[in-house]
Amino acid sequence: MSFYKIIEHYKNFDFKSYLETINEIKIKKILEKEKINHEDFLALLSPSAENLLEDIAQKSHNISVKHFGKIILLYTPIYISNFCVNQCIYCSFNKNFNIKRKKLSYTEIEEEAKKISESGLKHILILTGESKEKTPISYLCESVKILKKYFHSVSIEIFPLTTDEYRKIIESGVDGLTLYQEVYEENIYKKVHISGPKSNFKFRLDAAERACQANIRSVNLGALLGLNFWQKEIFFTALHALYIQNKYPDVEISISLPRIRNNIGSYKGIETIKDKSLVQMICALKLFLPYVGITISTRENKNFRNSLIPLGITKMSAGVSTSVGGHISEQGTPQFEIEDNRTVEEIKKVITEKGYKPILKDWTSF
């Protein structure tokens, strides 16, 4: 069975009408429960729940501290190529955009890795566009091996692979997978992924599962917020996480909440996600999936990120560049514009001031 079956199960479900039926009494009852079900979770995404956000946030904070302690893991992305054969309307790496394309050589990856590791970071996330010609699996595996010399944990945020390919890259040293479905509503997915292999909805949807079959340690899921009305997307993101957790219980799951940022195509999505909604998502997710981590990237600005920490964040990126080779040169088009340019030291300081512990290492290959 694929997660696709679960999406299909809700095909005729009217999310908006359901959310409108929820009142504050219902939310208060949900807050009294120790464990909440799918419907309760959806109710926590309703406008009525927004009115009780402080109560929900208090509970979310407590749950998170109980499960994770006051610990925030820091990581950073490394962009190694922006060659891409896809046409995604929200992404600056879109094949039709006339940007400077670059793929790092192994020497450049090593230089970039050295530079990043000087900041003390030990967890790194590899990013590329999708091009099996420019960045074949052999290139990616070699890159992983180089990065393993400098980092304890290497994760990938690249195009979906087959199970065998996942196996190969995991053998090279990868332990984590980040893969955003972007949008769980198939019709919208087809509209925003105009051409290229990424337009295959199901292949992407099942990718996290293939990685689990190839023995990945951790999986980070997410939907690109703004492509669809957010309640539906967060609902499916959570259900996807639950589906993976139930089927592959030893895998550590986390969720990202990326909002669409400025990109070359100037695509803004169908709705703007308010800060308040993002907070609501984080808290609702914590109540529904207490054991799932929450990742916040530098798509969010520094003050907002600082304020999110006690709500249940477990992972944050720091010292970020979203352009290829961005740590060793100034050139290159970023994938999206980042909102928080702070160094690792600056972010560590703020986390500490909040009474939390920034940690740089939470795994290593033994």
Binding site: Q245, P249, D250, Y291, F366
Partner: protein, 258 residues
């Protein structure tokens, strides 16, 4: 003296602590000093020897016994590799085997734990396996060379107390190596309860680390553990289900034949 022996070492303090949830490492030495803690567990996955200032090992006093744990291990093989690395990194030869193949409930996998214990004990490790309370598994661990067994009181981080009381009591009755209650202890009275039951020691992490004053909370646990142990060794009065009449009905029989 009522001291505890594990792996040939005599331990005065029966409160072991974990370090995983402290938001501030600087406070750890004070927690340890004020509560006279002798055994400290830390996740090897987080230990970073290259880190100059923020290395957890720097905050654990030299006279403590390090109990590196294999947090993050999903099977016996991973636990074994982590344990060997801990030894190679200079963390001594004590190890708390922790194999979790279920991230949702974080329940230990007894089967894989037994496999890892067998191999590591043979290699000379002092193995303290974290386990789901189960007599048969505990016996297997004991015969595999475990120096103690560490059943959970309730699922980790829940602070629910000794929900597995009956199962742990059976283990205390039947297992010869020390039984140490690990996980689920949310307040000092839970620790006292575990000790009154006859546990050899308790391991506390969350309840101390996430409290507003970890130093004082650790002291409270220290006292509770002491009190519980003292009560156990003083043979508490038996609990009765019903009130015991102070004017017994058959008392006249003690007064000789009528």
């Amino acid at each position: 003296m009522d001291n505890l022996f594990i792996g040939g070492v005599e331990l005065k303090n029966k409160l072991f602590i974990g370090t995983g949830k402290f938001s501030n490492y600087e406070i750890i030495p004070e927690v340890i000093e004020k509560s006279e803690v002798q055994v400290v567990t830390m996740a090897l996955r987080r230990v970073d020897l290259e880190e100059k200032t923020d290395n957890i090992l720097k905050y654990i006093p030299q006279n403590c016994i390090l109990l590196p744990n294999t947090s993050g291990a999903r099977n016996a093989d991973e636990a074994i590799r982590i344990a060997r690395l801990a030894k190679a990194m200079g963390c001594g030869n004590w190890v708390k085997i922790e194999v979790i193949s279920d991230q949702k409930y974080l329940l230990p996998d007894n089967y894989e734990t037994i496999k890892a214990t067998k191999i590591l004990a043979k290699e000379g490790f002092i193995v303290l396996p974290y386990m789901t309370p189960d007599l048969i598994a505990a016996k297997a661990l004991e015969s595999s060379g475990a120096a103690a067994v560490m059943p959970l009181g309730s699922p980790i981080g829940t602070n629910k107390g000794i929900k597995t009381r009956d199962l742990i009591e059976i283990m205390i009755e039947e297992i010869k190596v020390p039984v140490i209650v690990d996980a689920g202890i949310g307040k000092p009275s839970h620790a006292a309860e575990a000790m009154e039951m006859g546990s050899a020691a308790v391991l506390v992490n969350t309840a101390i680390a996430v409290s507003e004053n970890p130093v004082k909370m650790a002291e409270a646990f220290f006292m509770a553990v002491k009190a519980g142990r003292l009560a156990y060794t003083s043979k508490m009065g038996k609990q009765e289900k019903f009130a015991k009449a102070s004017s017994p009905l058959t008392g006249f029989l003690n007064e000789g034949e009528f």
